[in-house]
Symmetry: C2
Subunit: 479 residues, 2 copies
């Protein structure tokens, strides 16, 4: 494909992309495909000879597209959103064309320096103190791993990197019962062992109980173990519970424990001054992560990781082979030393395009709109005698279930709600996911998609009631 053909096809794709966004509501949110169905349509072997782009693009539309889950559909209510936006997609086009490998300053000075500035903008936008320095990671999982590794190195005077964990004290990591699975994963990868995780009990709002944290620390100290780090979550994955940062921070200070904050999803809400109260206690925080690629209209991957001690982060990861030495090293940031992967995409560009296109006020008004839709939905649930909300909803996620009158057996309720969720998703008109809160099967609905409007929440609520009524009728007249 030469550049004139590329030009022609790029224009074709520009139209297809715009059509896709315009027609996105015509697609089923979640495809009705069976495991193996797409694979069977693809040849077993690579073609020996070139195939034409029109042929490839046609296969994309006919084989791949029907097997996609449409994350940009406004009725994608599952998990957390990965909301993209037109300016973000435009930036990704340029990133792909430049195809620069931004591992060190010299391999793309503008990419490094734009990243520095974007991280400063973001820190200010979410109200982080000036003392934090930011860097883009691929995901919050990776950022959390970086944080625990830095804690591991700092507590051992950077000795574990060299001598390993054998012969070291037993290091303990604390979080809550509701913490994301990436904490378990990071603790395992770092060689600390998941038996060394203490999951503090949560309160009725599913937030960490500081008293449970303190007791766990005391118990470990008595046993001769070494508390290493606490991971507090602002907006848990299950129900967006907010761990009480101020009290947790006080405990960390008292015992001299590293504190990481996982605000992967809800961190974006900090753009709103009215949401900043959850940052109280930030003075005790060592590292903080949130994902613009979740709720800030920025294509995956773009996780903003902020650290108070930049030198400790770099010292944890820096290895300087001859072929990567450059003469500017002491005057620039070489981001390859700020994380796990060596290679890096130019990810700051999409942040620049998104923040400037919306402006901070534009972003805020979109977030407030999401929160308002969520409040409306929560009200409907609350007002309906056969539905119940199962957790507080401080953001745009509502945890609820259907509770038909007369049914009180917990397992029956769980089974009914799993069935309801399955039926709703099968319609292709919406996509919801679930969790369990204190053993209760919980339907989650998140209003965070770029294109979601109140009407989508209204449609969803109507469909949910409709499907529940249908199930009720089936229950009433079985067979």
């Amino acid at each position: 494909m030469d550049t004139s053909e590329f030009r022609k096809f790029a224009h074709e794709l520009a139209d297809w992309m715009a059509d896709y966004l315009e027609q996105i509501e015509s697609y089923p949110v979640k495809p009705a495909v069976q495991p193996g169905e797409i694979r069977q349509k693809l040849p077993d072997h690579a073609p020996g000879q070139p195939e034409s782009f029109p042929e490839i693009f046609s296969d994309f539309r006919e084989i791949i597209l029907p097997g996609m889950t449409h994350w940009q559909h406004p009725s994608f209510f599952a998990y957390f959103p990965a909301n993209s936006s037109p300016p973000s997609v435009l930036a990704e086009m340029l990133t792909a064309a430049l195809a620069a490998q931004c591992m060190i300053w010299q391999t793309s000075p503008a990419a490094t320096e734009l990243e520095e500035v974007m991280m400063r903008w973001l820190a200010e936008m979410i109200g982080l103190p000036d003392s934090f320095t930011g860097v883009i990671q691929d995901t919050a999982s990776t950022a959390t791993l970086c944080s625990l590794l830095t804690a591991r190195e700092k507590i051992s005077s950077f000795g574990i990197n060299h001598s390993g964990l054998q012969g070291q004290p037993r290091y303990i990591v604390y979080c809550s019962e509701q913490t994301h699975s990436s904490i378990d994963k990071a603790v395992r990868i770092a060689g600390l062992g998941s038996d060394q995780i203490r999951k503090a009990a949560v309160d009725e709002a599913f937030a960490m109980r500081p008293s449970a944290l303190r007791e766990a620390i005391e118990t470990d100290l008595e046993r001769g173990y070494t508390p290493l780090a606490v991971v507090a979550t602002l907006g848990t994955t299950g129900s967006t519970a907010i761990d009480p940062l101020e009290e947790i921070g006080n405990i960390c200070r008292k015992y001299g424990i590293w504190l990481h904050v996982d605000a992967a999803f809800a961190g974006t809400a900090l753009l709103l001054p009215e949401m900043r109260s959850m940052l109280a206690g930030i003075e005790a925080v060592d590292t903080f992560v949130f994902n613009p690629h979740k709720w800030m209209f920025t294509n995956f991957d773009c996780s903003a990781y902020f650290v108070r001690d930049k030198e400790a982060l770099i010292r944890t990861f820096e290895i300087l082979p001859e072929y990567l030495k450059t003469k500017e090293a002491d005057r620039v940031n070489n981001y390859r030393d700020w994380g796990i992967a060596l290679g890096r995409r130019f990810r700051a560009l999409k942040l620049w395009f998104v923040i400037r296109s919306y402006g901070v006020e534009g972003l805020r008004s979109k977030l407030r709109n999401h929160l308002e839709i969520a409040r409306w939905f929560a009200k409907q649930v609350e007002a309906h005698p056969e539905f119940e909300q199962l957790a507080p909803a401080p953001f745009n996620l509502i945890c609820f279930r259907w509770h038909p009158s007369g049914v009180e057996d917990p397992e029956t309720l769980n089974r009914l709600n799993a069935e309801l969720l399955e039926r709703l998703n099968r319609t292709g008109k919406m996509f919801l996911s679930h969790t369990r809160l204190k053993e209760v099967y919980t339907i989650r609905i998140v209003f965070g998609q770029t294109y979601v409007e109140k009407r989508h929440a209204e449609q969803a609520w109507q469909l949910i009631r409709h499907e529940a009524h249908r199930m009720q009728r089936e229950l009433d007249s079985p067979g």
Copy 2:
């Protein structure tokens, strides 16, 4: 920005991208910017109100572009290439528009199943046995970390994940003096400690000496240490040396040691049947990684990681919280359990577009052309009395230096070549990088860019001689 504006701007960008590729040779390969120069042109604070796309795009062209290193310039000869291609860029456009989060099958069945098929295609294309299963990782650094973690878990019956490394035997990892820095990084992250790395001596071709490996293993066994893994490299970063896989494999089998192969750059050469001899010994290999994002015309990031024991990989990383449970789990691949990050981009699409657009034969002919250009360049170096090749060149990387007659002091030669490299890069007409081979400052030139032709090698050779002659004149008449 609504979709009609998006359509308009996407067309504008389609033209800009095609123009960029057409005019790429008019840009300086490496920009003449000073540290901080780009940063100073960017505002300290995010804008409160929206800015127009034409304004943003104009800033991109005027502020960012002059600070980019142009990796797609045909005279980008530095490091290893990260060569993109028109079909790859087109796929990235679609990936950005779909903006799907492909962490599990359910969140995009087509992305998961296309990845399965692409990994099978790739395995066959490079001659890997059927027993390998593949998965896309972001980088070879991450893949190597995954490999060492799997080895760590397998040797401990998956116990370190739970109990940690404290109290475990001292595990040793073996590689060569020329191994990539990511091995050190992975050993540190995994908690094993870099003191437990043995870097076996290399031969005159910079390949690992099997005898040195065997001796190191014997010594460690005598000390009561536990050999954990060997990392063999096909195409080292310094000089693309090829570690003797067959002999290394025999040693690993004899002692029952895990064997990982890092073919990050040179793995692409295995597309050529005439290069397959370096795979002799593959039967003893547990894991294998190569990067289509380096030399196979596929945008970063796309690292192909192959494992013989898929279950061990999954068991190393699997954590199944309630909110990620799906009913198809036992019939599909959920790739979040195949590595470190939870979130995943739709990276298989660009592989599909690239492999089909070129066809296997088309890819081979491009690779053979690169190898031919490199052979031509090596011949020029060899024939010139004042230049010398410093390492064998089994692929498309030539390691060489300027050796003016009469200069024999090693440090002077090192200094002169560092100066020559600096001057060449300052011209903006080419970008070279360096390494040190046995303390000798070595200029590296790689012919692997998508658009590189023989004329670029000719220009480079002319410029190198020209600049060396100029330096010679300055040396002859100082002051």
